[in-house]
Symmetry: C2
Subunit: 361 residues, 2 copies
Amino acid sequence: MWPDTRIQELFDIEFPIVQAPMAGANGSAMAIAVAEAGGLGSLPCALLTPDQLRAELGAIRAGTRRPVNVNFFCHRPPQPDVEREAAWRHELSRYYVELGLDPDAPVPASSRAPFDDEFCGLVEELRPEIVSFHFGLPERRLLNRVRATRARIVSSATTVREARWLEDAGCDAIIAQGAEAGGHRGMFLAEAVDRQVGTMALVPQVVDAVKVPVIAAGGIADGRGIAAALALGAAAVQVGTAYLFCPESTVADPHREALRSAHADDTVLTNVFTGRPARSIVNRTVREVGPLSPLAPAFPLAGGALAPLRSAAPSGSADFMSLWSGQGVALRRELTAADLTRVLAQEALARLSSLTSGAAR
Amino acid sequence: MWPDTRIQELFDIEFPIVQAPMAGANGSAMAIAVAEAGGLGSLPCALLTPDQLRAELGAIRAGTRRPVNVNFFCHRPPQPDVEREAAWRHELSRYYVELGLDPDAPVPASSRAPFDDEFCGLVEELRPEIVSFHFGLPERRLLNRVRATRARIVSSATTVREARWLEDAGCDAIIAQGAEAGGHRGMFLAEAVDRQVGTMALVPQVVDAVKVPVIAAGGIADGRGIAAALALGAAAVQVGTAYLFCPESTVADPHREALRSAHADDTVLTNVFTGRPARSIVNRTVREVGPLSPLAPAFPLAGGALAPLRSAAPSGSADFMSLWSGQGVALRRELTAADLTRVLAQEALARLSSLTSGAAR
């Protein structure tokens, strides 16, 4: 039925559908629901403490016997840069004044933690079947420890060069992350935000460049997108934005509201929320400070100075909040994560079948 | 065999493949070859005088009895802005000095002409079967005259809103131009270059929004891309960059050389060559003056001041030349336009068939 079952075999899943790990937007509940429905459920760990990771993964193990994907950021922690951080605080000071906050009060450190010895120890102990990384891969020493657990190792490429690099480093599968995708660009060798490659062009070029199976991501939100990704040579898809509409999504209410009315061309790649380029719906911060600010401190430091603004903003305000979204946002529908997973699979199979029966119109 | 034959019926062509009209990069020879092979051959007219259009269309009529697409730009001619043009000349003056040119010598007017009464008279006289426009549509009076010739009318949309506008204005088919596409963005209501939508996300959203058949463009360069576009709901594809490698392509040698070595992430949307955003391989002008310069005069005036630089640059230099290219550039192969058309169709049919036979790997 499915044209290429390599990812299903590699991950031991029924459908070639990966629920994108979305830090801040999903936890164990969504991962369990997707896994039980036949897809690959994912737990994003970038915003979790080790204790939270233990609790969340424990909940998943209690909720399903299916494999799970645990996802980590693997950026290098930035060197503090007092001058740049002061310039960023200055850039945002008008909002502090507007909201009656002291522009000079200390701000919380951003909590996005990279994969380190402690997280690695948890992987060794808790043994998730799939471990995926964003922003490249951790240092070889840590990666070897992950590999020794026999976890399948996955990371994202935004260019052919990144895909080859990941294959050479031993990834078992590679996510080709097209420019349509929501949230952080996985770019780790590429630097130019304005040269990011769309899914339609990226996927076949990555498929040609590597031997491992490719998972297509970016702009895929229904069965048509899945069928298209498979036509391009991907063995599976990763779907993010479509899952943000599920009741299991943990996005804040203003984010959910913004998603419900967004058009495909309401999103932009911006660095203002974290310091790294990520696709967000345009809001006040993006419009007035970004989308790409040379003042934004290195990832993830830029986020610190926005936190007090989010807290002080009127209830329901999305002004200072990252509104991660891909360009497939307008294909939205509100289903449970389990139903969405099943519907995506059914639609994709029906679409594939219609393509040769002359009934695609 | 083909899942949706609406475009083939509408245009009376064998394959759902439109050769993109590429001003400066193709003339009658390519259009004839594509038409005879079973696709829709296109004649770009933006850089032609009425006499040249008459000669080129005459050559096509002599070379094939198949239908032809004649393509016009329909921008409003810009108001002269002496100050902005002086600033642009000043911005480029260092290159004039470097090449031993007088920075104050008059520059040629850019020759991109919008569709007007004279072109419309030629359409009425020469009766191309398909008339396509870029940058929206001409004024209603002219459009009505085109419609009265019974030509099929087509234009490009970069957003759902533009697609609806074109359908309301009476287009018979709409090109959904994803951000991967080379050359000028067709945008006419949208303004934000950084919000352009990728093909994977744009096509299904446009398909859902309009009743007329949709032609997918952007990043499509082989049978996989065609199969993917059809999976997304497009009834046909428009292929540009892949045809630039054909012997019938009229690109300058430095452009051809740049295409032969470009990676997908070597292209960018830039306004420096004409004043409107268009996807080009990054070269010296893009790197040093753009990619998006607030100084570039309105389309098409920006191009005038670059012409003397192109003429004076050393032979083989691509420094001051627009290097239009889509992100599918690395899927290149060097075939005649006829062979490429047939290969694209064969590959697409084989790919569609493999998707349900389980042989897609």
